[in-house]
């Protein structure tokens, strides 16, 4: 244990290390104070630098060109990802077939692999991911999906509105109609 040396070397009559009996020691052990000091320092070091929120840049296409852009994209290279309540994720490649045979269900963990597989199988200039959040999807779902674009190194992606046809298949899979959507009578 460290000790503060307050003794004087020249004044001892009885030799080193010999203390007079019944005299109270005036030595104060300062190790705990130094420990506390360092604890407080580390606390302040960590609180000054750690709380920086980060920014995720989002670039949107102009609305007027959207129709042309959607038809220019080669359908075979497009991967559409839909999201709705309870963190449900659905996807299909290319265009949605009327009988819904290519409508598949997934979740946030597996979608990373789906994106990766599609990316590997498509030419870079044809590969585009279309993200369609449904009316019950949370903001977190949308940001997580945008983050997946970043993680998967997807260069082209678009955030577009969900179509009634997509909503129909979601309603069929979830069993509950999405908010604000009424399924048409004829199927």
């Amino acid at each position: 244990m460290a000790e503060l040396d307050t003794s004087q070397q020249g004044g001892h009559k009885k030799g080193p290390g010999v203390k007079k009996a019944k005299k109270l020691s005036t030595r104060v052990d300062l190790t705990p104070m130094v420990d506390l000091g360092f604890l407080l320092i580390t606390f302040f070091i960590f609180t000054t630098t750690m709380s920086q929120p980060t920014a995720l840049r989002l670039y949107l296409p102009k609305d007027t060109e959207k129709q042309e852009e959607q038809s220019k994209v080669k359908n075979s290279g497009a991967l559409t990802i839909l999201m709705n309540r309870d963190n449900n994720v659905y996807y299909y490649e290319g265009e949605l077939l009327p009988d819904g045979s290519n409508f598949k269900t997934s979740n946030f963990m597996d979608i990373r692999q789906v994106i990766l597989d599609k990316k590997r199988n498509t030419k870079p200039e044809d590969f585009v991911v279309i993200i369609k959040p449904g009316p019950d999807a949370t903001y977190k779902n949308t940001v997580d999906m945008l983050d997946e674009m970043f993680i998967g190194d997807v260069k082209r992606y678009a955030l577009v509105d969900i179509t009634p046809q997509d909503l129909q298949f979601i309603a069929a899979t979830e069993g509950v109609p999405p908010s604000g959507f009424t399924a048409p009578a004829s199927n």
Partner: protein, 209 residues
Amino acid sequence: MTAMCDVAFLLLAFFILTTKFKPDEALSVTTPKSVSTRTLEGKDIVLITMDKDGKVYFSVDDMNRPEKLQIIEEVNEMKALNLTDAEKAAFARNGSFVGVPFSQLKSYLQRDPSEIKNLQQPGIPVTDSLNNELQVWIRAALTAFQGKKMNILLKGDNEAKYPSFKGVIDALKKNEQFKFSLVTDPEGIPPDSELGRRAAREGASVTDQ
């Protein structure tokens, strides 16, 4: 040993003095996480907040007081609200934000700051595409910031539903603002992903976008 003690307290004093406390936010929002490491813009910020119920709030950086005054002037003219100078000054106050429709704006600006902290505001209406009030606010902000680059920050709660987000995006698109930043918390890059592999090759700056 005394010397070490002195050094320890000197360092401690240094860090105490250089700690900047975050300004007290009236709205508590849990932002989602992302792997981006790009830091937020520091000035000329227009902040749009979405809380967990999807309510939208609009505020401007405290450093831009002249722009704030101009914004409230524009809104007053455009919507014929007949705001008094005191109410306009209340808007330009530090830390102020708006979360009410235009119809309630006058009475909202008359309130005390301590009242506002406990007030449950209805939020700026954005979901109705015909009456997207945020669009008006953004247009006023654009006029106020004329010539200078305005940094739009979108801070949303995890639980906010997509329709509010879409309303905010539409308001921005109609004002020709296509570039903005989403405020997120930092998160580590998953190592076994494309980005993870790129990071291993090129270094950590790959997430700075």
